[in-house]
Symmetry: C2
Subunit: 243 residues, 2 copies
């Protein structure tokens, strides 16, 4: 038997709803892993990589994570979202996915698409979220091409994989359009950026940004297949952790 490999975990919480993307509204538990290969300027989970929460990181086996999920979620969940940081840094996530599937639990993952892992093929809902210019990061499109190339060998491709791009400004929108045009067969989601990471986000401000983004999409013939969504959790709870 393979030695139980550990996963660096920062938070296990829920049940709550998935506030964004392809399964928006879905009841789910969250497992947040530590570590990211990016440092986005507006990262809303910077505590996963900037050292500020390093004392909270627990090295856990898949079995230990499952026990904690059951302890807090009991019988009130059958969907788990693994988020980061970037979970794709961790080969050991594969063991967690297998265990969750054995227990009859669906698994969603979000990653920016800078790294491939073989366990991507086992994910029920995989979101690839390359980062727009406002993040300060640069997308490695060769890597992203390679990821989609590998996913295409999977029969589920197109149903359970989506692209999501966060948009803060005009330049981000152009980037989103380029990404959508590059991978036209992939379900495409645009998400309103939320830059107010320190303070409670203003609902009015978020809804105005949403309206702006809707109008951009409405005007753009290249965006006929796109879906525009806010972050529901931010609308309901602001930027609190753990909900």
């Amino acid at each position: 038997m393979e030695k139980a490999r550990k996963i660096p975990v920062l938070e296990v919480f829920g049940p709550t709803i998935q506030g964004e993307g392809m399964v928006i509204g879905q009841k789910t538990m969250f497992v947040r892993t530590a570590g990211c290969d990016y440092q986005c300027s507006w990262c809303d989970s910077a505590f996963t990589w900037d050292g500020s929460a390093k004392d909270e990181i627990k090295q856990m086996t898949a079995e230990e994570i499952w026990n904690e999920l059951k302890e807090i979620g009991d019988n009130r969940f059958n969907h788990v979202t693994i988020s980061g940081g970037n979970p794709a840094l961790l080969s050991s996530i594969g063991s967690l996915i297998n265990l969750l599937h054995e227990k009859g639990i669906e698994v969603a993952v979000e990653t920016q698409g800078s790294i491939w892992k073989n366990w991507f093929l086992d994910i029920d809902q995989l979101t690839l979220s390359p980062k727009p210019p406002s993040s300060g990061m640069e997308t490695n499109f060769e890597k992203l091409d390679e990821i989609f190339h590998r996913l295409k060998q999977n029969s589920n491709f197109g149903k359970e994989v989506s692209l999501k791009v966060v948009v803060f400004d005009e330049e981000d929108f152009q980037y989103a359009r380029d990404v959508h045009t590059r991978y036209p067969e992939v379900s495409f989601f645009l998400q309103v950026g939320n830059s107010d990471i320190e303070h409670e986000a203003s609902t009015k401000d978020l809804l105005e940004k949403l309206e702006w983004l809707v109008n951009k999409v409405v005007e753009s013939p290249e965006m006929n297949h796109a879906r525009v969504l806010p972050q529901l959790h931010t609308l309901i709870w602001g930027n609190k952790r753990g909900v």
Copy 2:
């Protein structure tokens, strides 16, 4: 050739985004048909059946509707949502769906599930939205059973069909749970009720209701597969018509 049958149309508008349900956020055009077999107490489209907009009803062929869609949407759409009222009152919708598909347009429909039409089988995204007790209406579950029975003969079933129940109160939530339990294999969406149909809905009030509904779902083991969503258009624009 079959004689061109007319469709009673109240509004053609867009592009905008679908504010609710299984394709929430999707860029779409709307065609709103006149007439409903229900009279829900909180109907947000009562003008489709209460006579108040009867002078605005235009009897249109599929071709005329297509021309109007192109005139206002030009090349900025490839998705059309047919809503009502209850479009399932109209056999003639079949001709519109065929024409839209010929033009490469996807078609979504929402109906309460009181009437079957053969064209249901051609819809890309079909939402059945039976009405909870607060509506004052009574669900004919035999009819709904029959509809799902017929849909199951379609290979797309389960991917492109969903149930959506609007929830205003505790009793509606019980009803939603019963519906979900009766059709466990169907994608299930819960939607926050919006009773403030006369005045601009208060965002704060809508988000508080959303939080209440999320908490109900979180607590309920029977709702592990459910998705909870607000109406995005109401959050952005209140209850204005034609956006």
